[in-house]
Subunit: 298 residues, 2 copies
Amino acid sequence: MSQALKEYLSFCQHRVEHALEQRLPKPDILPQRLHQAMRYCVLDGGKRTRPLLTYCTGKTLGLPPDSLDGAACAVEFIHVYSLIHDDLPAMDDDELRRGKPTCHVAFDEATAILAGDALQALAFEVLAHDPSIAASAANRLQMLTVLARASGSQGMVGGQAIDLAAVGTQLSLPELENMHIHKTGALIRASVNLATLAKPDLDPVLATKLDHYAKCIGLSFQVKDDILDEESDTATLGKTQGKDKDNNKPTYPALLGMAGAKQKARELHEMALANLSVFGDEADLLRDLSLYIIERSH
Amino acid sequence: MSQALKEYLSFCQHRVEHALEQRLPKPDILPQRLHQAMRYCVLDGGKRTRPLLTYCTGKTLGLPPDSLDGAACAVEFIHVYSLIHDDLPAMDDDELRRGKPTCHVAFDEATAILAGDALQALAFEVLAHDPSIAASAANRLQMLTVLARASGSQGMVGGQAIDLAAVGTQLSLPELENMHIHKTGALIRASVNLATLAKPDLDPVLATKLDHYAKCIGLSFQVKDDILDEESDTATLGKTQGKDKDNNKPTYPALLGMAGAKQKARELHEMALANLSVFGDEADLLRDLSLYIIERSH
């Protein structure tokens, strides 16, 4: 990771941690257990990739970070709620998340369902009402529409449904791509698009370029995840298959071969950069981020 | 139920059924099973009490019904999502709802969680974007804030958390009331407040009166539910305790005695009427509805 991106990531992580804390209900407000669960899951964890994207896009467009706190928190609340629900026994049944017991383990299943539900409502409340957002009322409504669509049955939740239905089946490459575009891609695009909507009178051409950039890195992130999963397997003694392959989930290396998957990641990075060619140095963090995504080792 | 209310209820039920159907993703859109589950739970069921309240409030304020379709659908989507999640095995573990198998029984648990999640997102999408809503962008944002707060951890979801925590404990009357004010009251008030926000330049005094009316009928509805539950028990051979008492859940008759509970329902109805005294005949449906709530036999 470039030094500039490293520093900006650290800045964003601190910034959004504080912004999230301020927007979460305090742990002593009734119902306390629910609010404690929400705070347990949101605070002090995660790479905050989506808020980072919102802030980096805003920086590219010359927006001050404090005008993006509400949007960054809203996407992170949606992301965390989706993790809580995905971890439930009826879904992926995971017991660890970000190095801590998952919500239904640390609290209980009912509280985990409700904490996720409440975080989703909080995301929309923040976007509708947060004073940090300086956008016009009309743009704010567009931000709400973007986040709702990205989260819903034809966005993130739809992707999770496609993913669950795909376990044990043979997906084609377009089907695998469609799953990722929904499951993680939609919210990553929303993270960028909320920032472009926060910029008054932005040239729609630039907004579209940034949206396409987001689409590319959303996919390259998944391709790289699959590659890392596969490579860490072969490096790990006594373990011959990755978690996704264990679950019979389709992966890019399985469909394209390892060389093909690496080529795919590289092409997506090139496309991401091509969409940034209309910008100067101010988009360097976005360029660094795209490179980091395909070069990271974990 | 008065003839006028009966006819208007039927009109609203037909109207909102069509409006909901139009706003739900079609069953052949991917992911099909998720969309089928959403439609299964939303369509062709329920009394549509919350949409009725939205339309009745709008009628009191002289708003045409077609300007309220989006708001009516949004509250109903939130209501239905909450039912789907409340019915889950980790929550109330119910197998029947509106005379049909619950979502997790008819489909599966993962699909039920996701269908609820997607319906919540759809509610906010509709409120943010639906062309039926004629309110200004600023008022629309207020509608979104109202619905998000009513749905979240200090509204409906919070009430469900309080309810779950109360099983097997002794609640005082204020605690019982607090639970109902959150669990069902918040969304009932939102159903009314979305309509007042749809009226341009409404005198805030009138908006407050209607909000207080909603608060009264939200509570009287719960008091009457408890009374009906208790009375149907004694009438039912071989069953000596109602479902809520079975679950050790607190009830108004348990706390106030049967006569006290009936007195409470009557007082709430009188308070509801008092809040409507600033209105003429145009609020008669709201008056009829309040009376119906405390006089109904099921």
